[in-house]
C-alpha cells in the first residue's frame, strides 16, 4: 500500500514536471507566433534573439545550475559560429542542418577546453580565468585569419535552402522558423536534462561539492560534462547565427558578448531555463527599442534598467515573479 502511494506521488511529481515542459514549449511557440505576427518586418531581430537565447540558456547551465562564474561564455558560442562558418566556406558543407551539427561539435569542443581551465578555480579567480580565456580565443581567431577572415570577418557563407525547399531570404522567415524550432528542441531537451539524475547531481554540486564527493561522485567530471553540454547548446546558437546572418566575425568571440549574456541571465534570473529566456527577450527588446529611439545615448537607459532590476527584482525578473506566485499559492493553501 505504502509503495503504491509512493509510486503515485512520484508519478504525480513526474507528470507535474512534464506538464511544465509542455507549458514551456507552448509558451515558446506562442511567443514565437506572436513575435511573427507583431513584427513580421523585423524577423532578423527575432532570429538574433533566438540565437542569443541559446547562448544564455547555455550559460545558465553552468552558472545557474552549477554555480560557475564566467565572463567568457561567448568562447563557446563563437566557436560554434566559426565551426559552422568554416565548414561552409572552407569545406563546402552548406546544408544548414549539417552546419548546425558542426557548430554543436565546435561548441562542445570549446566547452571541454574552457571547462578544463575554468574549473581549476572558484569565485573571483574563476571569473578572471574565464576573462583570460575569452581573450585568448578572440586573439586566436584574429591570428588564424586564413581560416577565420580575421577582423574582416568570415564572409561568403551561403547556406543551402533548408531541407532543399526553403531558402534563407531577405525577409528571414526561413531563418526565424529554423531558429524557433531549434530553440524549442533545445529547450525541451534541457528541461529533461536539468531534471535528470545528472541535473540533480549538478544542483548538488552547486550547493555543496564536498557532500557530492562524499557520495562518491566527482564534481569536476560532472561539471566538465555540463560544460560540454553547455558548449553544444551555445555552439548551436552560434551556428544559427552563422546560418541566418551568413557572416561570422570576432564579436562572436568577444568579452562584450560574454558580459552581455551574463547580464541577460542575471536580469531574467539564474537557475531557471525560463529565467534565461525571459532575460534574453527583455534585454534584447529593450536594447532594440531604446537604441532605435535614440541611437546616440541609449546606453544610459540600459544602465538604468539594470539598476532598476537589481533594486526592485533582486532574484531577476522571472525569479521574482515566480517567487511571488509561489508565495500566493502557498498562502492559498
Amino acid at each position: 500500500m505504502a509503495t503504491m502511494n509512493e509510486a503515485a506521488t512520484a508519478l504525480a511529481a513526474g507528470r507535474r514536471g512534464l506538464g511544465r515542459d509542455l507549458a514551456g514549449l507552448a509558451v515558446i511557440l506562442v511567443l514565437a507566433a506572436i513575435g511573427y505576427l507583431l513584427f513580421p518586418n523585423n524577423l532578423a531581430l527575432l532570429t538574433r534573439i533566438t540565437a542569443i537565447a541559446l547562448l544564455v540558456l547555455s550559460l545558465d547551465l553552468v552558472t545557474g545550475y552549477c554555480g560557475v562564474a564566467t565572463l567568457g561564455h561567448a568562447a563557446l558560442f563563437g566557436s560554434g559560429a566559426y565551426a559552422a562558418g568554416i565548414a561552409a566556406v572552407h569545406f563546402g558543407i552548406t546544408d544548414p542542418l549539417l552546419m548546425v551539427a558542426a557548430g554543436i561539435l565546435g561548441g562542445a569542443l570549446a566547452g571541454l577546453a574552457c571547462g578544463i581551465v575554468i574549473l581549476r578555480a572558484h569565485g573571483l579567480p574563476q571569473l578572471v580565468l574565464s576573462i583570460a580565456l575569452i581573450h585568448l580565443f578572440h586573439e586566436f581567431a584574429n591570428k588564424a585569419s586564413s581560416w577565420t577572415g580575421g577582423s574582416d570577418g568570415l564572409a561568403g557563407i551561403a547556406p543551402d535552402p533548408l531541407i532543399g525547399l526553403f531558402a534563407f531570404d531577405l525577409w528571414g522567415r526561413t531563418a526565424y522558423v529554423f531558429g524557433v524550432v531549434l530553440l524549442a528542441i533545445v529547450f525541451v531537451l534541457l528541461r529533461l536534462v536539468v531534471r535528470s539524475p545528472f541535473g540533480m547531481l549538478c544542483r548538488g554540486i552547486k550547493e555543496d561539492p564536498i557532500r557530492i564527493r562524499a557520495m562518491g561522485a566527482s564534481p569536476t567530471i560532472a561539471l566538465l560534462k555540463m560544460y560540454v553540454i553547455s558548449g553544444a547548446v551555445a555552439g548551436a546558437g552560434g551556428a544559427l547565427n552563422a546560418v541566418s546572418t551568413q557572416v561570422v566575425a570576432l564579436d562572436s568571440l568577444s568579452f562584450t558578448l560574454s558580459a552581455e549574456s551574463l547580464v541577460m541571465l542575471v536580469l531574467g534570473g539564474t537557475g531557471s531555463l525560463f529565467g534565461a529566456l525571459t532575460g534574453t527577450i527583455v534585454f534584447m527588446f529593450f536594447e532594440d527599442l531604446v537604441s532605435a529611439a535614440n541611437p546616440f545615448h541609449w546606453l544610459t537607459m540600459v544602465g538604468a534598467l539594470l539598476i532598476a532590476v537589481v533594486l526592485f527584482t533582486p532574484k531577476g525578473l522571472y525569479g521574482t515573479v515566480a517567487a511571488i506566485l509561489a508565495r500566493r499559492r502557498g498562502a492559498g493553501r
Partner: protein
C-alpha cells in the same frame, strides 16, 4: 573473520607537530567501534586521513584487503568507505527523496544519466521509500530539506550514507546539535544499522558511546592509548587521566 577496514601506522604531522602519530586499528564486518578522545586529540585529522582528504606522511589504509592509501576520497567512497558529517551537509532546496535517490543512482553508476526523471524510476523509488520508511522520514519525503527539523536532517544524513551501501561507515558525531527529545530516534536508527556493516563512530556523548559501541578506541595527542571494551576503558588509568575525568562516574554508572 578477516578485517574489512585496516589502518596501519598512520602518521601525519603539520610543521613538525605530529597530529596523527602511528595510529593503527582494524575492524571486521559487524563491528561497532567508537573513537573518542579529548579536544585536539587528532580525531578530525584522523578522519581526513582515512577518508582520503589528507595525504598521510606514512602508513597505510586498507578497505576489504585492498590498499587505498593512494586512492582519492571519491575512490574510497566507491570502495565502500562512507562517512557522515559532524554538521549536516544537505542540499537545502532538495527533498529527502531526491537526496536518497541521488545517492542510490550514484552508487549504481547512473547519476550521470542525462535523461529520465528518477521520480518516475520505480526501482529507485521503491528503495527510497523503504530506506526513508526505516528511518521514519517517509512523510517528509517530498518536502525541501530546509523545512525539516534538524533531528530529522541528521537521520537523513544517515539515510544518504546507507543508500550508498557502505561496507565501512564513518559516523562523525551523528547526534551533534540534536535536541534531547530527538536523540532517541537517532539511537534507534543506529541500533538498526545493518548487521554486516562495520561502523566507526566519532562521538563526544559518552552515554551514546557506551550504549552503541562494543569496542572503544581512545585517541590522545595523536596516538592510540586504549583499544578495548567500554567497560575496561573507564577503568584504564591512562584513559582516565587523558580524557574521561568527570565522565568516569557516568561510565561506571552505566
Amino acid at each position: 573473520m578477516s578485517a574489512i577496514f585496516e589502518v596501519r601506522n598512520l602518521k601525519r604531522s603539520f610543521g613538525g607537530l605530529a597530529v596523527t602519530n602511528d595510529v593503527s586499528l582494524s575492524m571486521a564486518p559487524g563491528d561497532r567501534v567508537a573513537l573518542i578522545g579529548p579536544n585536539g586529540a587528532g580525531k578530525t585529522t584522523f578522519v581526513n586521513l582515512v577518508t582520503g582528504n589528507l595525504k598521510p606522511d606514512a602508513g597505510e589504509v586498507r578497505i576489504g584487503g585492498e590498499t587505498v592509501t593512494n586512492v582519492d576520497a571519491i575512490g574510497r567512497v566507491r570502495r565502500g568507505l562512507v562517512r557522515s558529517f559532524q554538521v549536516t551537509r544537505l542540499f537545502q532546496d532538495m527533498t529527502p527523496a531526491e537526496h536518497v535517490a541521488l545517492a542510490i543512482l550514484q552508487r549504481d553508476g547512473r547519476a550521470g544519466r542525462l535523461f529520465g526523471n528518477f521520480l518516475a524510476m520505480s526501482g529507485v523509488m521503491a528503495e527510497v521509500g523503504s530506506l526513508l520508511g526505516k528511518l521514519g522520514l517517509r512523510d517528509l519525503a517530498h518536502r525541501p530539506v530546509r523545512e525539516i527539523a534538524y533531528g530529522q536532517q541528521r537521520l537523513l544524513e544517515i539515510a544518504v550514507a546507507l543508500a550508498l551501501k557502505p561496507r565501512v561507515l564513518l559516523l562523525d558525531e551523528p547526534a551533534a546539535g540534536v535536541p534531547q527529545s530527538d536523540t532517541g530516534r537517532i539511537e534507534q536508527a543506529l541500533a538498526d544499522l545493518p548487521d554486516d556493516l562495520a561502523v566507526l563512530m566519532i562521538e563526544h556523548d559518552m552515554d551514546l558511546v557506551f550504549r552503541f559501541a562494543k569496542r572503544v578506541i581512545v585517541l590522545a595527542a595523536g596516538t592510540v592509548i586504549f583499544d578495548g571494551s567500554p567497560a575496561d576503558a573507564t577503568k584504564d588509568p591512562r584513559v582516565r587521566e587523558a580524557y574521561l575525568g568527570s565522565y568516569a562516574d557516568a561510565g561506571s554508572a552505566a
